[in-house]
């Protein structure tokens, strides 16, 4: 053991010495190796529309910003992984990802329930993850140095929803959630906050049902709440709201950013027009976002899904960090990239992003949007009903 250790130290010293030499030697323009940026998001299954958007957002950003890295002699590649929105798949992909020494950063995931166990794996090798979409508080409250996100948090998104509901002057709400980490998380945060505001919560119900919501809707209709909050994703929320309207429920609808997909109106049709949703994804109305939308459409032939922009921003931040970590022609290490990400300050289409010591953006913007048309093509035109900029709460101990 002892001799191995000494030999190891010697090799390390030698390597370091060699590492310092190239500053003097001529810069080799090519062949410094490949830097891979991995994405993990659902590319198949019910949420693949959003997952695909994350992958494409990253691809677009890499193409746009890889110039400096290529000039420094690195090849930059995107390697997409399909986590199928399932924690077990995400974790097994994560194991493959950490085994690939060229991967320096992961952009992902879509689902908090997948991101949490997967990031435990990334942490083993201090591989940086920049999340475009995971809003669950646990993501950053664990205080891992390698985990960051550019979006807001559920424990803020819930209160944003309740703030808005309160401003609509509703007197009673009925809350339904999908029993996932994400859905139940926002629903509970919403509930706690709206109760504080003195609004009556007349029902709190979890369901895994995907098709038949009749038996849940019947009591809702009888209790006739002013507003129904659904904590979950659009593939379940859309049929729920649709069946509720068709059964004659007249309440206002509100949901978290899981509703933020054009598939919501594809499935829900006219029934979901007028639905409000809170989101940490910037609406596609700012000039920067418009430009992004046009480039995205030109390249991929479709409108960006929500979180494609956040994924683009995450990747841009990652590339800035990679540039810092490779300054002077060094080969990047995961530790260096992970540390560099926390130092990046990036002004993009979702505002200026700077991470705090947990990996949350120092100030995140939250929006309340209203569905304005039953045409999925017009999803980008949803009206902004309210905007709030809120700092991430301090870590709960």
């Amino acid at each position: 053991m002892g001799s191995h250790f000494i030999r190891g130290v010697l090799v390390l010293c030698l390597a370091l010495a060699v590492g310092f030499v190239p500053a003097a030697s001529p810069v080799d323009a090519q062949g410094k190796g490949t830097i891979k940026i991995a994405t993990q998001s659902p590319l198949s299954g019910g949420q693949s529309a959003l997952g695909e958007g994350i992958k494409l957002g990253t691809q677009l950003a890499v193409e746009k910003f890889k110039g400096n890295l290529e000039k420094a002699g690195f090849k930059v590649e995107v390697v997409p992984y399909d986590d199928q929105a399932k924690p077990d798949v995400g974790v097994s992909n994560a194991k493959n990802i950490i085994a690939d020494k060229d991967i320096m950063v992961v952009i992902g995931h879509l689902n908090s329930g997948v991101a949490i166990p997967s990031s435990e794996v990334y942490k083993e090798t201090n591989l940086a993850m920049v999340s475009p979409a995971n809003t669950n508080e646990k993501i950053t409250d664990r205080g891992y140095p390698n985990v960051n996100r550019v979006c807001g948090r559920d424990d803020v998104q819930g209160p944003v929803g309740s703030e808005f509901a309160h401003s609509l002057k509703v007197k009673s709400v009925y809350i339904v959630h999908d029993k996932t980490t994400y859905g139940q998380g926002v629903a509970e945060a919403f509930k706690a906050d709206i109760e504080k505001k003195g609004v009556k919560v007349i029902g709190f119900e979890g369901t895994e049902e995907k098709s038949n919501f009749d038996p849940i809707i019947t009591p809702i209709k009888a209790k006739n709440p002013d507003l129904i909050y659904f904590g979950g994703i659009y593939d379940q929320g859309a049929p729920f709201f649709k069946q509720a309207r068709e059964k004659g429920v007249k309440s206002k609808f509100l949901g978290p950013d899981g509703m933020d997909s054009s598939d919501l109106v594809k499935i829900g049709g006219k029934a979901v027009v007028g639905l409000y949703y809170t989101t940490a994804a910037a609406p596609a109305s700012s000039p920067q976002a418009k430009q992004f939308g046009e480039e995205y459409k030109k390249k991929f032939g479709k409108n960006p899904e929500p979180y494609a922009a956040e994924s683009y921003v995450s990747t841009a931040i990652a590339i800035k960090a990679l540039e810092a970590a490779t300054a002077g022609g060094k080969a990047p290490t995961r530790d260096a990239v992970t540390a560099a990400i926390r130092k990046v300050k990036y002004a993009g289409m979702t505002g200026t992003i700077e991470f705090d010591d947990k990996g949350d953006p120092k100030r995140a913007s939250y929006y309340v949007l209203q569905v304005s048309s039953d045409n999925p093509e017009k999803w980008g035109e949803n009206k902004e009903a309210k905007r709030l900029a809120i700092a991430a709460p301090a870590a709960k101990k």
């Binding site: 029902g203 979890g206 369901t207 098709s211 038996p215 849940i216 009591p219 209709k221 009888a222």
Partner: protein
């Protein structure tokens, strides 16, 4: 506890439960008929069921894009879609039997069962693969027909939608048709003969293979019809949607007494009602301690209780005797 509310929603829950129950009953027939004849559980039936829903949605979407959906009378559209779904699922069931089960008929019991599970996975992904190429979509939505969305509001809490009525009426008609087919026709007699004793039936001049195919055709067609009705009622389908209703329908078949046709209908209704009542009433009755998410636990607990006291199901398992 709000007693008025509990009573007020009762008829609505009953109606929802009956609608769901008839759907389960139609699917359960596929399991029970095959079991009656071959004593084997066709686990691919849940995919045969959802295949009917996919054929239905494809036809409706084509009609819609051709602009005929509004022009044709809705009854015609409905019958057309139902027949197409039945035909497609029936033929698929026959093909599955021919390819995956018949070569294994004399193998030990577990072998065709494994084959059935394999077929189930295979069909799920074939449908997913095809739809992702054909429509670039995972979730498909049944186009709305305005007539179907009409509701008769009886009181403020109770209303009856045309859709539920269509499901119930169509299911009743099909169950009646099946009853006549099995009990009053020559084919039905032959199927029952095969169920009773294959060797003896073949000695009496019954073509056993053809009758087995016929069983799959009828069971598959019922499943296909259920698929179309499922799509019309709940509107959203994806290639994996069939699994849970299939499992529940299988349970319904066991509950009623597997191999027993009236048993499957009764079992489906009982399970549908149990589920609807559990989902609507659990949280009201327990003050929110147990919510709708416990509906399956509740329904299946009742099921276990019933099976403890009547291990052969409500109407008894009829393997030898009647089909």
């Amino acid at each position: 506890m709000d007693f008025e509310l509990l009573v007020g929603i009762f008829p609505q829950v009953l109606l929802d439960g009956i609608t769901l129950g008839f759907m389960y009953a139609l699917i359960a027939l596929g399991y029970t008929m095959v079991y009656g004849v071959l004593e084997f559980i066709n686990f691919a039936h849940s995919e045969i069921f959802i295949f009917g829903a996919f054929v239905g949605v494809e036809i409706l979407l084509s009609l819609q894009s051709a602009g005929w959906l509004e022009r044709l009378p809705w009854v015609v559209v409905l019958i057309l879609v139902l027949l197409a779904g039945m035909l497609a699922s029936g033929l698929l069931a026959v093909t599955v039997e021919r390819v995956a089960y018949r070569p294994l008929r004399n193998a030990p019991r577990l072998i065709p069962l494994i084959s059935a599970i394999g077929v189930s996975f295979f069909l799920q992904d074939v449908i997913r693969f095809f739809e992702s190429i054909w429509r670039n979509a995972f979730n498909l939505v049944y186009p709305t027909m305005d007539v179907m969305n009409q509701r008769f509001e009886l009181t403020s809490t109770i209303d009856v939608s045309v859709r539920s009525l269509v499901v119930i009426v169509a299911a009743l008609l099909m169950l009646w048709g099946l009853h006549v087919l099995v009990n009053r026709t020559k084919i039905g007699t032959a199927i029952r003969a095969v169920a009773e004793d294959q060797a003896a039936a073949s000695l009496m001049g019954v073509n056993v293979n053809r009758m087995i195919s016929m069983t799959f055709l009828i069971g598959g067609a019922m499943g296909g019809a259920a698929g179309v009705l499922f799509g019309i009622q709940y509107s959203l389908i994806n290639p994996y949607t069939g699994f849970i209703p299939g499992l529940k329908a299988f349970t319904a078949a066991v509950l009623g007494g597997i191999g027993n046709i009236p048993g499957a209908m009764l079992g489906g209704l009982v399970l549908g009602l149990l589920e609807a009542f559990a989902a609507s009433y659990l949280s009201l009755l327990t003050g929110g301690a147990f919510g709708a998410e416990y509906k399956d636990i509740f329904a299946f607990s009742v099921l276990i209780l019933i099976l403890i006291f009547r291990p052969k199901g409500l109407l008894g398992e009829v393997i030898r005797g009647r089909a």
